[in-house]
Protein backbone atom coordinates (compact mmCIF):
# COMPACT_ATOMS: atom_id res chain seq x y z
CA UNK A 1 0.00 0.00 0.00
CA UNK A 2 2.84 2.36 0.87
CA UNK A 3 4.29 2.15 -2.63
CA UNK A 4 1.02 3.59 -4.02
CA UNK A 5 0.62 6.23 -1.32
CA UNK A 6 3.50 8.53 -2.31
CA UNK A 7 2.65 8.74 -6.03
CA UNK A 8 -0.97 9.33 -5.09
CA UNK A 9 -0.03 12.22 -2.82
CA UNK A 10 2.22 13.72 -5.51
CA UNK A 11 -0.63 13.48 -8.00
CA UNK A 12 -3.38 14.89 -5.81
CA UNK A 13 -1.54 17.49 -3.72
CA UNK A 14 -1.06 20.11 -6.47
CA UNK A 15 -4.75 19.95 -7.28
CA UNK A 16 -5.67 20.37 -3.61
CA UNK A 17 -3.27 23.29 -3.24
CA UNK A 18 -4.72 25.00 -6.30
CA UNK A 19 -8.26 24.48 -5.07
CA UNK A 20 -7.42 25.99 -1.68
CA UNK A 21 -5.16 28.92 -2.52
CA UNK A 22 -5.46 29.96 -6.15
CA UNK A 23 -8.11 32.37 -7.39
CA UNK A 24 -10.96 30.82 -9.37
CA UNK A 25 -10.44 30.12 -13.04
CA UNK A 26 -12.00 32.84 -15.24
CA UNK A 27 -13.94 30.25 -17.20
CA UNK A 28 -15.81 29.12 -14.09
CA UNK A 29 -16.70 32.60 -12.87
CA UNK A 30 -20.00 34.37 -13.40
CA UNK A 31 -19.73 36.92 -16.19
CA UNK A 32 -19.67 39.99 -13.92
CA UNK A 33 -16.98 38.52 -11.72
CA UNK A 34 -14.90 37.50 -14.73
CA UNK A 35 -15.16 41.01 -16.17
CA UNK A 36 -14.31 42.45 -12.78
CA UNK A 37 -11.24 40.26 -12.55
CA UNK A 38 -10.10 41.37 -15.99
CA UNK A 39 -10.43 45.04 -15.02
CA UNK A 40 -8.75 44.37 -11.67
CA UNK A 41 -5.78 42.77 -13.40
CA UNK A 42 -5.55 45.66 -15.83
CA UNK A 43 -5.84 48.58 -13.40
CA UNK A 44 -5.46 47.40 -9.79
CA UNK A 45 -3.17 44.36 -9.62
CA UNK A 46 0.06 46.27 -10.19
CA UNK A 47 -0.36 47.97 -6.81
CA UNK A 48 -2.71 45.67 -4.86
CA UNK A 49 -1.19 42.38 -6.06
CA UNK A 50 -2.28 39.82 -8.63
CA UNK A 51 -3.93 37.72 -5.93
CA UNK A 52 -5.09 40.80 -3.98
CA UNK A 53 -2.26 40.31 -1.49
CA UNK A 54 -1.37 44.03 -1.29
CA UNK A 55 2.03 45.61 -0.87
CA UNK A 56 4.57 44.25 1.58
CA UNK A 57 4.33 45.99 4.99
CA UNK A 58 1.13 47.65 3.85
CA UNK A 59 0.14 48.68 7.37
CA UNK A 60 3.15 50.93 7.96
CA UNK A 61 4.12 54.12 6.13
CA UNK A 62 6.72 53.61 3.39
CA UNK A 63 9.85 55.69 2.81
CA UNK A 64 7.75 58.47 1.26
CA UNK A 65 5.52 58.58 4.31
CA UNK A 66 2.56 57.07 2.44
CA UNK A 67 0.49 54.10 3.51
CA UNK A 68 1.18 51.39 0.89
CA UNK A 69 -1.65 49.75 -1.09
CA UNK A 70 -3.49 47.35 1.25
CA UNK A 71 -4.52 43.80 0.40
CA UNK A 72 -7.99 43.14 -0.98
CA UNK A 73 -7.99 39.49 0.03
CA UNK A 74 -9.05 38.08 3.38
CA UNK A 75 -5.91 39.46 5.09
CA UNK A 76 -6.88 43.10 4.41
CA UNK A 77 -9.77 45.31 5.44
CA UNK A 78 -11.58 45.83 2.13
CA UNK A 79 -14.35 43.49 3.37
CA UNK A 80 -15.05 45.87 6.25
CA UNK A 81 -16.39 48.55 3.88
CA UNK A 82 -19.87 48.85 2.44
CA UNK A 83 -20.48 48.63 -1.30
CA UNK A 84 -21.14 52.38 -1.35
CA UNK A 85 -17.81 53.13 0.31
CA UNK A 86 -15.87 50.77 -1.98
CA UNK A 87 -17.49 52.38 -5.00
CA UNK A 88 -16.56 55.85 -3.73
CA UNK A 89 -12.97 54.83 -3.03
CA UNK A 90 -12.49 53.43 -6.53
CA UNK A 91 -14.30 56.31 -8.24
CA UNK A 92 -12.87 59.23 -6.27
CA UNK A 93 -9.58 57.79 -5.06
CA UNK A 94 -8.17 58.07 -1.58
CA UNK A 95 -5.41 59.74 0.34
CA UNK A 96 -4.72 58.53 3.87
CA UNK A 97 -4.98 61.64 6.06
CA UNK A 98 -1.65 60.97 7.77
CA UNK A 99 0.34 60.50 4.56
CA UNK A 100 3.26 62.88 4.29
CA UNK A 101 2.50 63.59 0.64
CA UNK A 102 -0.48 65.46 -0.76
CA UNK A 103 -1.24 63.22 -3.74
CA UNK A 104 -4.06 60.73 -4.02
CA UNK A 105 -2.09 57.56 -3.31
CA UNK A 106 -5.10 55.60 -4.54
CA UNK A 107 -5.93 57.25 -7.86
CA UNK A 108 -9.48 58.13 -8.90
CA UNK A 109 -10.94 55.89 -11.62
CA UNK A 110 -14.19 57.73 -12.32
CA UNK A 111 -12.84 59.02 -15.63
CA UNK A 112 -11.42 55.64 -16.58
CA UNK A 113 -14.07 53.12 -15.54
CA UNK A 114 -17.83 53.24 -15.92
CA UNK A 115 -20.07 52.79 -12.87
CA UNK A 116 -20.87 49.30 -14.13
CA UNK A 117 -17.20 48.40 -14.44
CA UNK A 118 -16.55 49.58 -10.89
CA UNK A 119 -19.40 47.36 -9.70
CA UNK A 120 -17.84 44.41 -11.54
CA UNK A 121 -14.52 45.02 -9.76
CA UNK A 122 -16.33 44.98 -6.41
CA UNK A 123 -18.03 41.72 -7.42
CA UNK A 124 -14.62 40.24 -8.11
CA UNK A 125 -13.18 41.50 -4.80
CA UNK A 126 -15.95 39.62 -2.99
CA UNK A 127 -14.54 36.34 -4.30
CA UNK A 128 -11.29 37.03 -2.41
CA UNK A 129 -12.98 37.02 1.05
CA UNK A 130 -14.11 34.31 3.42
CA UNK A 131 -17.79 33.47 3.88
CA UNK A 132 -17.82 35.26 7.24
CA UNK A 133 -16.24 38.34 5.69
CA UNK A 134 -18.78 38.35 2.87
CA UNK A 135 -21.59 38.20 5.43
CA UNK A 136 -20.01 41.04 7.45
CA UNK A 137 -19.63 43.18 4.33
CA UNK A 138 -23.21 42.47 3.27
CA UNK A 139 -24.44 43.61 6.69
CA UNK A 140 -22.31 46.76 6.49
CA UNK A 141 -23.80 47.57 3.10
CA UNK A 142 -27.34 47.02 4.39
CA UNK A 143 -26.71 49.11 7.52
CA UNK A 144 -25.35 51.99 5.45
CA UNK A 145 -28.28 51.78 3.04
CA UNK A 146 -30.76 51.86 5.93
CA UNK A 147 -28.95 54.76 7.56
CA UNK A 148 -29.01 56.76 4.34
CA UNK A 149 -32.55 55.98 3.23
CA UNK A 150 -35.17 58.57 4.28
CA UNK A 151 -37.45 57.33 7.09
Amino acid sequence: MNKWFVPLVLLVAPALLMAGGAPPNSDSLPTEVAKGRQIYEQYCAACHGWQGEGAANWNKPDEKGEMPPPPHDETGHTWRHSDAMLFRMIAEGWRHPFNKTDRLAMPAFEDTLTDEEIQWVIEYLRTLWTDDQRRYQQNESQDINQAESPS
Binding site: K60, H77, H81, P97
Partner: protein, 284 residues
Amino acid sequence: MKTMVYRLNSGVSRLFLFALVAVMPGLVQAESANDAQAVKALATDSSGALLVLRDSGLLVLDDKTAADIPLPPSDSGAQPRSMAKGADERLYLAGPGLGIWRYEYASERWHSLNDTLPDLGITAIAAHATQPETLYAYLGEGGMFRSRDGGGEWVKVDGGPREPVQAFLHSDMPGSMESGWLFAGTTRGVARSMDCFCFWGDAGELRGAVTAIDYDPSAPENVYAVIEGQLHHSSDGGETWVGLEIPQAITALTFSPKEGLVVGTENGDLLSRNASGEWVPVHE
Protein backbone atom coordinates in the same frame (compact mmCIF):
# COMPACT_ATOMS: atom_id res chain seq x y z
CA MET B 1 -23.28 93.76 83.84
CA LYS B 2 -24.33 90.09 83.95
CA THR B 3 -27.25 90.96 81.73
CA MET B 4 -24.91 92.64 79.26
CA VAL B 5 -22.60 89.59 79.23
CA TYR B 6 -25.57 87.24 78.82
CA ARG B 7 -26.92 89.33 75.95
CA LEU B 8 -23.48 89.44 74.39
CA ASN B 9 -23.08 85.66 74.73
CA SER B 10 -26.56 85.11 73.43
CA GLY B 11 -25.84 87.38 70.47
CA VAL B 12 -22.58 85.61 69.71
CA SER B 13 -24.29 82.21 69.94
CA ARG B 14 -27.03 83.31 67.58
CA LEU B 15 -24.48 84.74 65.19
CA PHE B 16 -22.51 81.48 65.36
CA LEU B 17 -25.64 79.41 64.77
CA PHE B 18 -26.66 81.65 61.90
CA ALA B 19 -23.19 81.43 60.38
CA LEU B 20 -23.21 77.64 60.83
CA VAL B 21 -26.58 77.31 59.11
CA ALA B 22 -25.40 79.54 56.27
CA VAL B 23 -22.02 77.88 55.78
CA MET B 24 -22.84 74.20 56.51
CA PRO B 25 -24.42 73.32 53.14
CA GLY B 26 -21.38 74.78 51.45
CA LEU B 27 -19.06 72.71 53.63
CA VAL B 28 -21.08 69.57 52.96
CA GLN B 29 -21.08 70.32 49.27
CA ALA B 30 -17.35 70.97 49.21
CA GLU B 31 -16.74 67.72 51.08
CA SER B 32 -19.04 65.89 48.70
CA ALA B 33 -17.43 67.43 45.65
CA ASN B 34 -13.94 66.51 46.76
CA ASP B 35 -13.74 63.66 49.21
CA ALA B 36 -10.05 63.03 48.47
CA GLN B 37 -10.78 59.91 46.45
CA ALA B 38 -9.14 59.65 43.06
CA VAL B 39 -11.36 60.60 40.14
CA LYS B 40 -11.90 57.45 38.04
CA ALA B 41 -13.75 58.98 35.11
CA LEU B 42 -15.26 62.27 34.00
CA ALA B 43 -18.03 63.32 31.60
CA THR B 44 -20.59 66.07 31.25
CA ASP B 45 -24.36 66.04 31.02
CA SER B 46 -26.60 67.96 28.64
CA SER B 47 -26.49 71.10 30.79
CA GLY B 48 -22.72 71.05 30.91
CA ALA B 49 -22.59 69.87 34.54
CA LEU B 50 -19.64 67.64 35.35
CA LEU B 51 -20.22 63.95 36.06
CA VAL B 52 -17.53 62.75 38.44
CA LEU B 53 -17.00 59.04 39.05
CA ARG B 54 -15.12 58.00 42.17
CA ASP B 55 -15.10 54.81 44.24
CA SER B 56 -17.63 56.51 46.49
CA GLY B 57 -20.10 57.02 43.66
CA LEU B 58 -21.18 59.25 40.83
CA LEU B 59 -21.61 62.95 41.42
CA VAL B 60 -23.25 65.62 39.27
CA LEU B 61 -21.49 68.89 39.87
CA ASP B 62 -22.31 72.32 38.52
CA ASP B 63 -21.60 75.90 39.61
CA LYS B 64 -23.90 75.80 42.61
CA THR B 65 -24.94 72.28 43.46
CA ALA B 66 -23.67 68.75 43.83
CA ALA B 67 -25.94 65.72 43.68
CA ASP B 68 -25.35 61.98 43.78
CA ILE B 69 -26.53 59.53 41.15
CA PRO B 70 -26.79 56.02 42.61
CA LEU B 71 -24.61 53.50 40.77
CA PRO B 72 -26.10 50.61 38.79
CA PRO B 73 -26.97 47.58 40.92
CA SER B 74 -24.41 44.79 41.08
CA ASP B 75 -24.75 41.50 42.99
CA SER B 76 -21.00 41.00 42.89
CA GLY B 77 -20.16 44.49 44.09
CA ALA B 78 -18.48 45.26 40.78
CA GLN B 79 -17.52 48.89 40.29
CA PRO B 80 -17.77 51.00 37.13
CA ARG B 81 -14.49 51.98 35.56
CA SER B 82 -15.44 53.58 32.25
CA MET B 83 -17.95 56.34 31.50
CA ALA B 84 -19.10 57.77 28.17
CA LYS B 85 -21.57 60.35 26.95
CA GLY B 86 -23.57 59.49 23.85
CA ALA B 87 -24.12 61.83 20.93
CA ASP B 88 -27.61 62.37 22.35
CA GLU B 89 -26.10 63.22 25.77
CA ARG B 90 -27.17 59.91 27.35
CA LEU B 91 -24.82 58.53 29.99
CA TYR B 92 -23.18 55.09 29.88
CA LEU B 93 -21.22 53.33 32.61
CA ALA B 94 -19.25 50.12 32.35
CA GLY B 95 -16.83 48.00 34.31
CA PRO B 96 -15.53 44.46 34.70
CA GLY B 97 -18.27 42.34 36.25
CA LEU B 98 -20.79 45.12 35.71
CA GLY B 99 -21.14 45.11 31.92
CA ILE B 100 -22.68 48.22 30.38
CA TRP B 101 -25.50 50.36 31.72
CA ARG B 102 -27.35 53.41 30.40
CA TYR B 103 -28.78 56.07 32.70
CA GLU B 104 -32.17 57.59 31.94
CA TYR B 105 -32.24 61.08 33.40
CA ALA B 106 -36.02 61.34 33.13
CA SER B 107 -36.78 58.23 35.18
CA GLU B 108 -33.52 58.39 37.16
CA ARG B 109 -32.96 54.68 36.47
CA TRP B 110 -30.20 52.53 35.08
CA HIS B 111 -30.90 50.12 32.22
CA SER B 112 -28.75 47.08 31.61
CA LEU B 113 -27.40 46.75 28.06
CA ASN B 114 -25.91 43.33 28.68
CA ASP B 115 -28.41 40.95 27.10
CA THR B 116 -26.32 40.13 24.03
CA LEU B 117 -22.82 40.52 25.47
CA PRO B 118 -20.95 37.22 25.96
CA ASP B 119 -19.95 38.26 29.49
CA LEU B 120 -19.70 41.30 31.75
CA GLY B 121 -15.93 41.80 31.59
CA ILE B 122 -16.07 45.23 29.94
CA THR B 123 -12.99 47.32 30.66
CA ALA B 124 -13.67 50.29 28.38
CA ILE B 125 -16.56 51.82 26.45
CA ALA B 126 -16.89 54.61 23.91
CA ALA B 127 -19.87 56.33 22.35
CA HIS B 128 -19.91 57.42 18.71
CA ALA B 129 -19.35 61.16 18.47
CA THR B 130 -22.27 61.83 16.15
CA GLN B 131 -24.43 58.66 15.92
CA PRO B 132 -26.51 58.37 19.12
CA GLU B 133 -27.24 54.67 18.71
CA THR B 134 -23.67 53.53 18.03
CA LEU B 135 -21.60 52.33 20.97
CA TYR B 136 -18.29 50.49 21.29
CA ALA B 137 -17.11 48.19 24.05
CA TYR B 138 -13.87 46.37 24.76
CA LEU B 139 -14.18 42.95 26.33
CA GLY B 140 -10.60 42.01 27.09
CA GLU B 141 -9.65 38.88 25.19
CA GLY B 142 -13.20 38.83 23.83
CA GLY B 143 -12.29 41.72 21.55
CA MET B 144 -14.17 44.78 20.34
CA PHE B 145 -17.95 44.90 20.22
CA ARG B 146 -20.19 47.43 18.52
CA SER B 147 -23.88 48.15 18.92
CA ARG B 148 -25.79 50.20 16.39
CA ASP B 149 -29.06 50.19 18.28
CA GLY B 150 -28.12 51.79 21.56
CA GLY B 151 -26.88 48.62 23.23
CA GLY B 152 -29.74 46.29 22.26
CA GLU B 153 -27.56 44.07 20.11
CA TRP B 154 -23.79 43.79 20.42
CA VAL B 155 -21.74 42.33 17.56
CA LYS B 156 -18.09 41.43 17.73
CA VAL B 157 -16.33 43.46 15.07
CA ASP B 158 -12.64 43.12 15.78
CA GLY B 159 -9.97 41.68 18.03
CA GLY B 160 -8.75 45.16 18.96
CA PRO B 161 -5.17 46.36 19.30
CA ARG B 162 -2.45 43.91 20.28
CA GLU B 163 -2.28 45.17 23.86
CA PRO B 164 -5.22 45.37 26.32
CA VAL B 165 -7.38 48.47 26.09
CA GLN B 166 -7.83 50.55 29.25
CA ALA B 167 -9.41 53.69 27.80
CA PHE B 168 -11.49 54.14 24.68
CA LEU B 169 -12.63 57.07 22.56
CA HIS B 170 -14.58 57.72 19.37
CA SER B 171 -13.78 60.96 17.59
CA ASP B 172 -15.31 62.74 14.62
CA MET B 173 -11.91 63.96 13.47
CA PRO B 174 -12.06 64.33 9.66
CA GLY B 175 -10.24 62.02 7.25
CA SER B 176 -11.78 58.64 8.09
CA MET B 177 -12.96 56.27 5.39
CA GLU B 178 -16.13 55.81 7.45
CA SER B 179 -17.64 58.10 10.08
CA GLY B 180 -14.76 58.79 12.45
CA TRP B 181 -11.84 57.41 14.40
CA LEU B 182 -11.30 55.16 17.37
CA PHE B 183 -8.51 55.84 19.84
CA ALA B 184 -7.65 53.10 22.29
CA GLY B 185 -5.48 53.72 25.31
CA THR B 186 -3.56 50.48 25.74
CA THR B 187 -0.87 49.26 28.10
CA ARG B 188 1.69 50.27 25.44
CA GLY B 189 0.43 53.66 24.27
CA VAL B 190 -2.33 55.04 22.07
CA ALA B 191 -3.62 52.86 19.22
CA ARG B 192 -5.72 54.41 16.44
CA SER B 193 -8.05 53.01 13.81
CA MET B 194 -10.67 54.41 11.51
CA ASP B 195 -14.06 53.32 12.79
CA CYS B 196 -14.29 50.71 10.03
CA PHE B 197 -11.81 48.79 12.25
CA CYS B 198 -9.55 48.69 9.18
CA PHE B 199 -6.48 48.15 11.30
CA TRP B 200 -5.03 49.34 14.57
CA GLY B 201 -1.78 51.23 14.33
CA ASP B 202 0.30 53.23 16.79
CA ALA B 203 -0.83 56.83 17.19
CA GLY B 204 2.62 58.34 17.31
CA GLU B 205 5.39 57.18 19.56
CA LEU B 206 3.89 57.91 22.96
CA ARG B 207 4.70 54.89 25.12
CA GLY B 208 3.31 53.71 28.45
CA ALA B 209 0.07 52.46 29.96
CA VAL B 210 -2.71 54.89 29.02
CA THR B 211 -5.34 55.28 31.71
CA ALA B 212 -7.50 58.04 30.21
CA ILE B 213 -8.04 59.59 26.80
CA ASP B 214 -10.27 62.30 25.34
CA TYR B 215 -10.38 64.87 22.57
CA ASP B 216 -11.59 68.41 21.96
CA PRO B 217 -14.90 68.16 20.04
CA SER B 218 -14.50 71.73 18.79
CA ALA B 219 -11.01 70.99 17.42
CA PRO B 220 -10.94 67.21 16.91
CA GLU B 221 -7.26 66.96 15.99
CA ASN B 222 -6.51 67.77 19.63
CA VAL B 223 -6.27 64.51 21.57
CA TYR B 224 -5.23 64.16 25.21
CA ALA B 225 -3.93 61.03 26.93
CA VAL B 226 -2.82 60.24 30.47
CA ILE B 227 0.15 57.97 31.16
CA GLU B 228 1.24 57.36 34.75
CA GLY B 229 -0.51 60.50 35.91
CA GLN B 230 1.10 62.71 33.25
CA LEU B 231 -1.05 64.53 30.70
CA HIS B 232 0.03 64.42 27.05
CA HIS B 233 -1.39 66.44 24.18
CA SER B 234 -1.43 65.85 20.45
CA SER B 235 -2.54 68.62 18.11
CA ASP B 236 -2.35 66.45 14.99
CA GLY B 237 -4.67 63.55 15.65
CA GLY B 238 -2.15 61.45 17.54
CA GLU B 239 0.84 61.72 15.23
CA THR B 240 3.00 63.65 17.71
CA TRP B 241 2.64 64.27 21.44
CA VAL B 242 3.95 66.74 24.00
CA GLY B 243 3.76 66.51 27.79
CA LEU B 244 1.78 69.13 29.71
CA GLU B 245 2.84 70.29 33.16
CA ILE B 246 0.20 69.84 35.84
CA PRO B 247 0.88 70.07 39.58
CA GLN B 248 -0.96 66.81 40.41
CA ALA B 249 -1.17 63.27 39.07
CA ILE B 250 -4.05 63.05 36.59
CA THR B 251 -6.48 60.14 36.61
CA ALA B 252 -9.35 61.29 34.36
CA LEU B 253 -10.24 63.94 31.81
CA THR B 254 -13.14 65.30 29.80
CA PHE B 255 -14.15 68.30 27.72
CA SER B 256 -16.72 70.57 29.27
CA PRO B 257 -18.63 73.09 27.15
CA LYS B 258 -18.13 75.59 29.99
CA GLU B 259 -14.64 74.86 31.27
CA GLY B 260 -12.88 73.33 28.28
CA LEU B 261 -10.47 70.58 29.27
CA VAL B 262 -11.17 69.39 32.81
CA VAL B 263 -8.92 66.89 34.55
CA GLY B 264 -9.56 64.80 37.64
CA THR B 265 -6.65 64.06 39.93
CA GLU B 266 -5.42 61.32 42.20
CA ASN B 267 -6.30 63.56 45.17
CA GLY B 268 -9.87 63.92 43.99
CA ASP B 269 -9.50 67.48 42.69
CA LEU B 270 -10.96 68.83 39.49
CA LEU B 271 -8.83 71.30 37.58
CA SER B 272 -9.27 73.38 34.46
CA ARG B 273 -7.20 76.07 32.81
CA ASN B 274 -7.95 79.74 33.35
CA ALA B 275 -7.46 82.47 30.76
CA SER B 276 -3.74 82.60 31.59
CA GLY B 277 -3.38 78.87 31.01
CA GLU B 278 -2.87 78.12 34.71
CA TRP B 279 -4.52 75.05 36.24
CA VAL B 280 -7.10 76.13 38.79
CA PRO B 281 -9.77 74.28 40.78
CA VAL B 282 -13.12 73.92 39.05
CA HIS B 283 -16.12 75.60 40.75
CA GLU B 284 -14.07 77.44 43.35
